[in-house]
């Protein structure tokens, strides 16, 4: 039931309805509270939600009449008065002063690592190797797939030299479905590797279908290829084709701006021409009469401001417009008609 329907009922009826919906302590509630409870438990759901009279009644009430009806009470000032961003609010630490290296996966072929070295370690290294910034830092990348890594039993490793100006690096490992770990350190003059920090372990994702087949859930190769194709990932099960197809698809999505919903604001630029002109004509009709008068323009009633003035604005097409303005006094005795005629042409 809608608010209106409920409002027309007696308190006794409302109490019955509220009870049937399981509202407790109905005797203590007044009529308005009962309506609120009922609406909360049994939201109005008319078969035709576009019921025009309902909407216009609602709008009459809430737009022109009693604002408090549908509004929450205003938020107390002490709650809304919140300071804006101070200048310092965006200060963030440039370092947390700890010795650590972290490894992340970007895709089947690339890793990302970032690191930091605390002052104490820097000083220690500095003393021992004669100046921290002279140490040729490098990242040692270990492939630790299927091993319990102890620092020396990797499948293979390679080094990436990094400079002191950076504290992060993208590493091209080119190996899907393998596990990796990195050390931050440097090669000592005797050829051994000095580890400053060791990262967490990560595994790159597979870039193609798995070779592991569960006997119970087998499908012949031919059929699987067909399925793969049906899934929209191109003709074979090679990763390149899949990636290409994904890229094509996603480029389309990005260009439609649709991927992450609503963030983009439109920039309207009439394109394709070096120089352009957009021109529109609008007509403003304004006037004043007794505040109580009835005024129509081209036969349609318009509303006056409290002081009896009015303003109307029309987009003006080419052609001729007769615009009869009729004002009638509140008692219906006096009527004044004025009819501007406007002709517009564009050459």
């Amino acid at each position: 039931m809608t608010r209106e329907e409920l409002a027309n009922k007696t308190k006794k009826d409302l109490t019955e309805i509220a009870k049937s919906l399981g509202v407790k302590g109905t005797s203590k509630l007044n009529k308005e509270e009962l309506v609120e409870h009922i609406l909360l438990l049994d939201p109005p759901f008319s078969a035709n939600p576009e019921d025009a009279p309902l909407i216009s009644h609602h709008l009459d009430q809430s737009l022109n009449g009693d604002h408090s009806l549908y509004r929450q009470p205003p938020i107390p000032e002490h709650l809304t008065k919140v300071a804006t961003y101070g200048d310092g609010e965006q200060d963030i630490p440039s370092s947390y002063n700890e010795t650590r290296i972290t490894l992340m996966v970007r895709d089947p072929y690339w890793l990302y690592t970032y690191w930091d070295i605390d002052t104490e370690t820097k000083n220690k290294l500095s003393q021992r190797f004669g100046g921290f910034y002279h140490i040729p830092l490098c990242i040692r990348v270990y492939d630790i797939t299927d091993v319990t890594f102890d620092g020396s039993n990797s499948n293979y490793y390679f080094d990436v030299t990094v400079n002191h100006n950076t504290n992060s690096w993208y590493i091209n490992v080119g190996k899907p479905n393998r596990s990796f770990c990195v050390d931050l350190g440097f090669i000592q003059p005797d050829g051994t590797f000095y580890t400053i920090a060791r990262s967490n372990f990560v595994t790159t994702p597979r870039d193609t279908v798995s070779d592991v087949i569960d006997e119970e859930w087998m499908l012949i190769e031919e059929d699987f290829k067909r399925l793969y194709r049906l899934a929209g990932l191109g003709d074979g099960n090679s990763s390149m084709e899949m990636v290409e197809s994904l890229i094509r698809r996603l480029e389309q999505e990005m260009s439609s701006g649709a991927v992450s919903s609503i963030s983009g604001q439109a920039k309207y630029e009439p394109k394709q021409r070096q120089f352009w002109l957009a021109l529109n004509t609008e007509l403003v009709i304004y006037g004043a009469t007794e505040p109580t008068a009835h005024v129509t323009i081209q036969g349609e009633p318009i509303s006056l401001r409290p002081d009896g003035t009015f303003t109307l604005r029309f987009a003006l097409p080419d052609g001729c417009q007769h615009i009869p303005v009729v004002a009638q006094s509140a008692d219906g005795i006096d009527t004044i008609t004025m009819t501007p005629i406007v002709t517009k042409e564009t050459k």
Binding site: P49, L63, P93, D107, R226, Y228, V259
Partner: protein, 543 residues
């Protein structure tokens, strides 16, 4: 069983938490207001019409906890009312202004009618809380509501296990409180999966999630049915794969439906087109031109010249496209059913905000599609993944591959030159939060409030939206500022808590600004405590 296979339509509704009480109006809050007018109310209206007409259907929708929190926020509710009232006023003027332009007048009337309806729907029917409308549709049996990460944190790059668990756990708690029942499924933020995530879902009682197509196709062992049946992760949680063919038809700017010449052009808005003095009262206080939502042109073609929008031609086209989509699904499912030894499921997930906001006719298309599927064919039946699992509980066990639905299919959108600088801070903040929760297990008073607020700052910092916006290049400044501000606030609180210097004024200031999840309990970040309570909950769910 008459049908040969199933179609699961999944709409993912999410917006980042944007709420700025410190400003009288704030441009980015418009994302939420526009989405209410253009997407959420039109979708709800569509569902209600279908229910009113007695049409049985099933559709899945994820509502992110940040979006739910905004629906529930009284400041934003009030601001939406102001917004829609201004729009009604503008639309009234537009009806007047276009009186002599028959090619625009009808469209102007359409907007006025819609805005008036929105006001009625929002204020009168649901007393400013649209979660009630979603709940009503859930209770009517047509909508399966699922959850998402608490603040849409991108899990594959989060690393900290406790923080990942918290994203899921907070989301499930909020969902239960708002909708009165636990979600059976989840939309992982950005569809981002990495092996192990399913364990967290399992411990919150979640039964299913989604990955992009290659997440399932590259699962190991090789999945027998490709993306056309779910697989169970070793944890027992089911994973459904996105079908690319049906996605493309709706998503793609070139081949997809939304680019049709008869559909409404998004980029011609009176906020940009009309006389500045006239439109000025409806622009933000800074006075820059923005979209108002009133747009009079159709896409027309790849030209700068645009023809006036014709609502009847657009309706007709939406019906044709719905028919085409249905026909393609019929053919797809007939073929799949002939190849596979079980009824296939085709999973078509979309961003909810595509419908109505970007693709104005989207909700109408959905309306036609559901009606046609119900009455015009027998091959395909609409289903939700939860229902499918109940009908087909026996599925292959396999581990999906790390994947997302972002550009190139992995983590690159959220980890590249423009945004990689955030991760040292995100990871450190998560680690510090765990440290605090562990060090102060039973706090009360200001200490407790400070710990809870620190958790809120961490969560807001983790929203994947910031990294995404930095990458895509619009509104970058805002995303950078939000990231830095939450890092700063978190670290301030961390120091204040750790060194016993809590500033109550600063704290209550932050509580007012970043007021998401009022019931949050920081203990969720205590690895010792949270593991314990979770086990009891899980036991309760499964025994």
């Amino acid at each position: 069983m008459m049908e040969k296979g199933y179609l699961a339509l999944v709409l993912h509704a999410h917006l980042p938490f944007v709420r700025h009480p410190e400003f009288p109006d704030f441009l980015e809050e418009d994302w939420f207001f526009e989405a209410i007018t253009e997407t959420y109310i039109p979708l709800l209206k569509t569902y209600q019409h279908l229910v009113a007409d007695g049409i049985p259907f099933r559709i899945t929708m994820s509502l992110s906890p940040t979006l739910i929190s905004m629906f529930k926020d009284s400041l934003l509710q009030q601001r939406y009312l102001n917004k829609i009232e201004k729009l009604i006023e503008l639309a009234e003027k537009e009806v007047q202004r276009t009186k002599w332009l028959p090619e625009f007048a009808e469209t102007a009337h359409m907007y006025l009618e819609h805005f008036r309806f929105c006001h009625y729907f929002f204020a009168e029917k649901y007393r400013c809380d649209l979660t009630l409308a979603f709940k009503e549709m859930m209770d009517s049996g047509c909508l399966e509501l699922i959850t998402c990460g608490a603040t849409h944190g991108y899990l594959p790059l989060m690393l900290n296990q406790t923080a990942m668990q918290a994203q899921i756990s907070i989301a499930v708690q909020l969902h239960k409180r708002v909708f009165g029942r636990a979600p059976r499924g989840i939309w992982l933020p950005e569809c981002g999966y990495t092996p192990g995530v399913d364990q967290f879902l399992r411990s919150e009682g979640i039964r299913f999630f989604f990955t992009d197509a290659h997440g399932i196709l590259h699962a190991s062992p090789r999945p027998k049915y490709g993306v056309f049946a779910p697989i169970y992760c070793p944890s027992g949680v089911a994973a459904f794969g996105r079908d690319l063919e049906s996605s493309k038809q709706v998503w793609s700017a070139n081949e997809g439906y939304p680019g049709d010449p008869d559909y409404r052009e998004f980029y011609r808005d009176i906020g940009y087109d009309l006389d500045y003095e006239y439109i000025r009262p409806y622009l933000p206080s800074s006075g820059i031109r923005v979209n108002t939502g009133i747009k009079y042109y159709r896409i027309t073609g790849r030209t700068a010249h645009k023809e006036p929008y014709n609502i009847w031609a657009a309706r007709e086209k939406a019906a044709i496209h719905a028919g085409n989509f249905m026909f393609n699904r019929e053919k797809q499912i007939e073929y799949l059913a002939s190849v596979l030894d079980r009824p296939p499921i085709v999973v078509s997930p979309y961003d909810a905000e595509l419908f109505g906001h970007w693709w104005f006719e989207g909700p109408l298309w959905l309306d036609y599609l559901i009606r046609k599927i119900t009455y015009d064919q027998k091959t395909v039946k609409l289903i939700t993944p939860g229902d499918y699992l109940e009908m087909f509980p026996r599925n292959q066990v396999s581990t999906p591959s790390m994947s997302s639905w972002g550009y190139k299919g992995y983590n690159e959108v959220w980890l590249e030159g423009s945004n990689d600088w955030i991760y040292p801070h995100l990871h450190k903040a998560a680690e510090r939060m765990v440290e605090l929760a562990y060090a102060f297990p039973n706090a009360d008073g200001d200490l407790r409030r400070a710990l809870n607020q620190a958790a809120r700052e961490l969560l807001l910092l983790q929203s994947s939206d910031w990294a995404f916006i930095m990458k895509t290049g619009t509104m970058v400044e805002y995303a950078v500022r939000r990231t830095k501000v939450h890092i700063h606030r978190f670290n301030q609180l961390y120091d204040q808590i750790k060194y016993n210097r809590i500033d109550p004024n600063y704290l209550s200031e932050l509580e007012k600004k970043d007021n998401i999840f009022p019931d949050l309990d920081y203990a969720i970040y205590n690895p010792a405590l949270s593991a314990q309570t979770r086990q009891t909950e899980v036991a309760a769910t499964y025994i």
